[in-house]
Amino acid sequence: MPAAPPPVVRIDPMSGGGAIKPAGLAALETELQRGMKDLGGKGKPPPYYIAYEIHDRNDITIAASYGALVQSSVRRARILDTDVRVGDYKLDSTHTIRSNDFDFSSVTSGHPVALPLSDDPTALRTVAWRETDRRYNEAAERLVKIRTQRSLKVADEDPSDDFSREKPASYLGAPAALSIDVPAWEQKIRQLSARFRGQADILDSGVTLQTSSLTRWLVNSEGSVVQTGRNYVRVFLEANARADDGMELERFETFDAETVDGLGGTAEMEKAADAIITDLRALRKAPLSDPYIGPAILEGRAAGVFFHEIFGHRVEGHRQKNEEEGQTFAKKVGEPIMPAFVSVYDDPTLARLGTSDLNGFYRFDDEGVAAQRATLVSDGVLKGFLLSRSPTRGFAQSNGHGRRQEGRAIVSRQGNLVVEPKRTVPVSELRELLRAEAKKQGKLYGLSFRDISGGFTNTQRGGPQAFKVLPILVYRVWVDGRPDELVRGVDLVGTPLAALSRIIAASDDYQTFNGYCGAESGFVPVSATSPSLLVQQIEVERRDKGNDKPPLLPAPALMRPQAPTQAQPTATVKP
């Protein structure tokens, strides 16, 4: 049946601006302009672009294990990233050097620098000056190397410019602010972690609250001045156990939101903790799965991660350009790469989808380009890529996906990836389709992947361009209709083109995976949303298993009554 797209909350990047420009941002803007002017006069060759990006973070971490606090801390940091480009938009100092020599400048291209936390203009400007001068000298040296190389080597496969021209952004949003009742949360996290108490099968366990209040400043020599603020709040529950054969088993649950209230209630978290315990107990007893090739359902969150890994990373714009990359999709624009009923897009302007806040929401990317929806696949046909200001063949402009963790160099990254099938069936029907497909293939069962811890993929030519996805909960769905059976010890492996072309059906149960994605430009918050998908053929292989026995002694039974404890303030007065 034709499917309705999931309900979303979209936010216009320019909405809600008009905050007062902070003195610190103004000071850095002045310093940037001075650098542009002075280096323009004295630098040979002069820079054509300078940008400062500042990540001002206030992080709170509260962690507990087994009913006792392990950590409760606050961390504030203001980190400066300075980008200086020498040359011109066509060919500049960031151009890839193709050389057999190790290119130090590519590794050292990120330079996090701690800035004063206050808006003291002299201190801010002096730190920025030293960094600008240094990055300028590096860029000027690198451009000489690049020009030398160009006269020695064959032309680049992709003749695109090095930097796109974009409209300067001017937006002053409110700085991020988040207030957390620390003692109350300490108590809550403690209590959640205490649910693992008395569980003999659970080894290590922990519950963590992590909040990050992030104010970002961006200023560049093209005239962009941006301030944005947003919060990230996460509760993370994890535990592990060990099967009798030595296999390590892990299970976690996360709650991500933009506000503390968005996390949902305590009852839900308690339920998640209990589910972890139940699942780990079941996993300890679950049979080992044999290697298998056949049909499978990737349930919503698992399907989201699957798409993030095997598709999302391969449509990052810079991978279409770099000649060491596999370029799986570089020349497939306009061609069908998956079934015609599937569309895929990435949209960082989505703040919410269904009942989930989306981790990958932002207004401007790290190059100051307004976030926008990138249509990647429309009705099965590849339409475009995730683009930063590094143009690639056929795509001259950024679509606002240039991202980085502070201290790293920017590349194009995912934000909120959404897989949207045009026709869907109810979940129960999808399971029937799985049974039918398994039967057709002569199998006794199909597999259903409920949860995936993450995965990795190699996109480069130097190695096999395959993926491996690490499932946590995998069930056998029997053709003869007996109840599903939990199995353990398998990894999902394959190659992207084959896997994508074999999606045969989808259900209407959109689920969102919120997480942090690590790649060249560091860890960035992302989400991936998909309904459950039926894939005609997937392959699983046995997981490497540990050999350690479960603990030799039983968990210490609390033989003596617990000594009375009393609360005492941390900040006792000095003697």
């Binding site: 606050v74 002299t122 030293r130 000298n137 991936a528």
Partner: protein, 606 residues
């Protein structure tokens, strides 16, 4: 070539873990004090109960050995760090954590799983005194440590069986016997005073704002309290604590030819109250800054034979660099493959007991029981019992130039089979013998004027240039954003010890001291101490963290008078300079920049 590939090849997504992979472990404790549960007896009870159970019951089957020794160390660390530049705070972090070190030995004291491959087991555990949560950690970590110990012992046995027994160390036990210790020092407060430190650090950093010729500067201050609880199956119980505070004022700049120049002033004490007065610190920082600015315009040294007087911090630093690690008698761990026991960690002094290793005028003791240094200087390398629970002892290492002993942990060596209370462990590494409070003395300490006269006499002999060195570079002091390329290109020469880089050097001629720059000192070796021809009469107290960056090392102290080395290879610094700044610092635009800062006259010698 392939390095680049692996850096970029793999992309991952994670749901769990940190939101920021680069986030450091230092974090600021919550502004508002929170109710952390504390109970004086719980921690000890949990430790002793799990030791008792594990000693009795922990075993893998009848064929496998049982533990013969179990030790737990629970360290409660409460640490606050502030960094600042030009009067503005750039970071204010605090770390409060509890670390558990677990040691399980199987076999017996003559041959056990230690002194072989494998590192220390150190884990973060709950900071609250919750008996059940602590027992659980102790149980799980002991289980892991025991399994590792059994496996390691098996590998060590098979390695020993496969190796020829020509090794002269054969028959040396792995663990020396020791009576149980009982030390309890009352613990008053866990909280250092971060506010006072923060303001001091900020104010010190502001002093450098009047020196626009210093391109980058920062001040880092850390104060830390570590409460240590050690329980062993031998019945040892130690509950004591250590306070350390340190402020480093660091300045970096370049000469007009691009040469990188830096200097720093360290201040240390047990706690913030023990630091010098602000006025004294201000004086020292200004003197350092003036001297560094003057260095920008100082002549570059010419290579050649030199006679060098190390004085002030440089005297203690040269003792640390040349002798510090060599005094440890802990033998290097054996390795699985025969012949790979390359002696890289073997002390060059170890084989020289009873032999001359220094000039006959020199004597050296390590005395952790010394509570306070000359001139009432704070001594952070002072302790009563080491990390193996052995009472600290004063050890006479060198007497009139002859090596008498080494610093020992409970890992014996052929010549020295007992610990002398120097077994200490950096926060995340294993126990080995470390310097506690090392005191070098000379027989006939001379006044500075007489030492300069000695230098003059050497110069008059011809062919030798004479220098005074006041400060050496210290790798543990963070620099001004060194890039990877520079780090990788270091240490190109494969011959001889790594060159020593002095930061403050004066050339002395006819009683006149001229500041110079671009100096490296080569071929200084432990045996160079045999050539020391004169010593001063004002010992300098130098506090540092041994064997670990930041505050993760072992608090140590070296006390040494000025030392005259008559034969040192002085070389002009090699390598390419970074370009000097293309445009001026904003500090030079500020009308408040003090004119004194651009003075080129060298700071007057003390």
């Amino acid at each position: 070539m392939s390095a680049r590939r692996w850096l970029a090849a793999v992309v991952v997504v994670v749901a769990g873990g940190s939101t920021n992979a680069a986030a450091d472990s230092l974090a600021k404790t919550a502004e508002k004090p929170s109710g952390v549960r504390v109970n004086a007896t719980t921690v000890r009870q949990a430790m002793e109960d799990e030791i008792a159970r594990s000693m009795k019951e922990l075993h893998m089957g009848d064929d496998e050995p049982r533990p013969y020794f179990i030790g737990y160390t629970v360290s409660d660390v409460d640490q606050a760090t502030t960094s600042a530049t030009l009067g503005a705070v750039t970071g204010a972090h605090a770390y409060r954590g509890r670390l558990l070190r677990t040691e399980v030995r199987v076999g017996d004291a003559n041959f056990d799983n230690t002194n072989f491959e494998g590192g220390a087991s150190v884990e973060a555990i709950p900071i609250e005194d919750d008996y059940a949560a602590l027992r659980r950690e102790l149980w799980l970590r002991s289980d892991e440590a025991y399994k590792n110990a059994v496996e390691t012992l098996a590998r060590k046995r098979s390695a020993a069986a496969g190796q020829a027994s020509a090794d002269e160390d054969d028959g040396i036990a792995d663990f020396s016997s020791q009576a149980a210790s009982h030390v309890e020092v009352p613990f008053t407060s866990a909280t250092p005073d971060p506010e006072a430190l923060r303001e001091t650090v900020r104010k010190l950093s502001l002093l450098l704002a009047s020196f626009p010729e210093i391109y980058s500067s920062h001040v880092i201050g850390t104060t830390s309290v570590a409460r240590r609880r050690l329980a062993t199956s031998e019945g040892t119980w130690v509950d004591d604590n250590q306070r350390t505070t340190r402020i480093d004022v660091i300045a970096d700049t370049q000469a007009d030819d691009g040469m990188k120049l830096r200097s720093f002033v360290p201040f240390s004490a047990l706690d913030t109250a023990g630091l010098p007065s602000f006025a004294d610190m201000e004086k020292a920082v200004r003197a350092m800054a003036k001297e560094l600015v003057a260095t920008r315009h100082a002549p570059v040294v010419t290579s050649g034979a030199g006679a060098v007087l190390f004085e002030g911090p440089a005297a203690a630093q040269i003792v640390k660099i040349l002798l510090g690690d060599q005094l440890s008698g802990t033998p290097p761990p054996k390795t699985a493959s025969a012949g790979s026991d390359d002696g890289g960690q073997q002390s060059v002094l170890a084989g020289k007991l009873g032999q001359r290793v220094a000039a006959p005028t020199l004597s050296l003791v390590d005395d952790p029981l010394m509570a306070i240094g000359p001139g009432k200087a704070p001594v952070i390398g002072s302790y009563r019992v080491d990390d193996e629970g052995v009472p600290a002892q004063r050890v006479s290492l060198i007497e009139k130039g002859v090596l008498k002993s080494l610093l020992m942990s409970r890992t014996p060596r052929k010549e020295l089979t007992r610990s002398n209370g120097h077994g200490r462990a950096p926060r995340f590494a294993g126990v080995r013998a470390h310097v506690g409070t090392l005191v070098l003395t000379g027989d006939k300490g001379q006044k500075r004027g007489d030492l300069l006269a000695s230098l003059d006499k050497i110069a008059k002999g011809g062919g030798v240039t004479t220098y005074v060195v006041r400060l050496l570079d210290d790798g543990s002091i963070p620099g001004d954003g060194d890039d990877l390329a520079a780090l990788f290109s270091f240490g190109g020469g494969s011959h001889g010890p790594p060159p020593i880089r002095p930061l403050v050097v004066y050339r002395v001629a006819n009683g006149k001291e001229t500041l110079v720059r671009g100096v490296t000192l080569e071929n200084l070796l432990p045996r160079s101490f045999k050539e020391v021809s004169a010593t001063g009469n004002e010992p300098f107290v130098y506090n540092y963290q041994d064997g670990g960056g930041g505050f993760s090392g072992v608090p140590s102290t070296i006390i040494a008078p000025a030392l005259l080395f008559p034969d040192v290879d002085v070389r002009r610094q090699q390598g390419k300079h970074r370009k000097p700044p293309v445009y001026p610092s904003p500090l030079s635009l500020s009308p408040t920049a003090a004119p004194a800062a651009s003075s080129v006259s060298p700071a007057s010698p003390r």
